[in-house]
């Protein structure tokens, strides 16, 4: 098991003890969205206790679950170690690739829930959407679905629809941590 946790191939994740190949060549849209989110997080968290980590960071939740999330926020500095994060991050972001979507929406979500990750984002670069799940009484609840509208889509909407389309996301960790949906999907 020890060896498995340090799998030679960095492009493997271990979910409930089983190895899964990660997408070896993520699409540019995937890279852009993950990069945008990390940049937004890192800028806001500068000088604060919580820290943002980009794609490529190993997350060791337990021996059977070693993931490489697309972005994370960690508020407990003790779990940040040389080889990655060993413990439970406060927020995890997974950006969907068509070939790995099932795990992000299904099994990994359950593992994050079980371990008590407080906030989980599932981001689709193709659909330009963000699903935000918040932990309440040990269970993830869908808090909101955000959509990054193109100018064309926005122009097609009725006034009432625009009013009901949230364009800012409030991150649960800090009261004043507001993310503009437009920024998440910049250049997409």
């Amino acid at each position: 098991m020890g060896n498995l946790a340090y799998a030679e191939d960095y492009d493997v994740e271990i979910i409930n003890g089983r190895e899964f190949m990660m997408s070896p060549r993520p699409a540019i849209s995937h890279i852009r969205v993950a990069g945008n989110i990390y940049t937004i997080f890192a800028n806001f968290l500068k000088g604060k206790k919580c820290e943002a980590f980009p794609d490529g960071t190993e997350l060791h939740l337990d021996e059977e679950n070693v993931f490489v999330p697309d972005a994370m926020i960690v508020c407990n500095p003790d779990i940040v170690q040389k080889q990655g994060i060993f413990g439970i991050p406060d927020l995890v972001v997974e950006v969907l690739s068509p070939s790995t979507a099932k795990n992000d929406i299904g099994e990994k979500k359950e593992v994050y829930e079980k371990h008590g990750v407080k906030e989980y984002w599932i981001v689709s670069p193709i659909a330009r959407s963000i699903e935000v799940y918040l932990l309440r009484e040990g269970k993830f609840h869908l808090d909101e679905v955000y959509h990054g509208y193109t100018d064309e889509e926005w122009a097609d909407m009725k006034e009432s629809e625009r009013e009901n389309a949230p364009q800012f996301l409030r991150v649960s960790i800090y009261e004043d941590f507001v993310v503009s949906i437009k920024d998440v999907f910049e250049r997409l």
């Binding site: 060549r25 068509p98 070939s99 193709i126 659909a127 869908l142 909101e144 679905v145 009725k158 629809e161």
Partner: protein
Amino acid sequence: MEEKYELINGKEVLLSAASISHLDIQGNLYTILKNYLRGKRCKVLFEAKVVFDNKTWFQPDLLVVCDRNKLKRNQVEGAPNFIAEILSFTTQFRDFGIKKDIYEKYGVQEYWIIDPVARNIMVYLLQDGKYQLDGVYHNYTEEEWETLSDREKEEQKLTLKLSLYDDLEIHVKDVFEE
């Protein structure tokens, strides 16, 4: 024109007009199921009113119902065997949230959430009274397909089945055909 609405926990919720891609998918899947179910016991309906209880009724984009006793003159009473909802920006929160919870609670055996923009079909199956994500099927563009490794290409499932029948193979491509 009469406005369409649903009743969720006693509250009326208006439905907005569907996009062309939404209608395409709805028509494609309806045609596939209609052709297959001809002469069989189960029946496919689109946008039928489904009454779960006196505070909750929906008009799912598509449904399959096998117990003909549930078919009333103007509505379906009780849980269909299969429901498909096609996402739009204004309904996706409901489709993933409250509707999924209600379908689960009333025992809809299979629930598909179809996302026209992401080109995904998410399949939830009821196991021990809880929905489990059984699969996510993606309609690949040629460009996307080219970025996959050979191993990934082999792993992708390009067809899916309804849990009701063994011999109905649905091609993901056909569902999204324009």
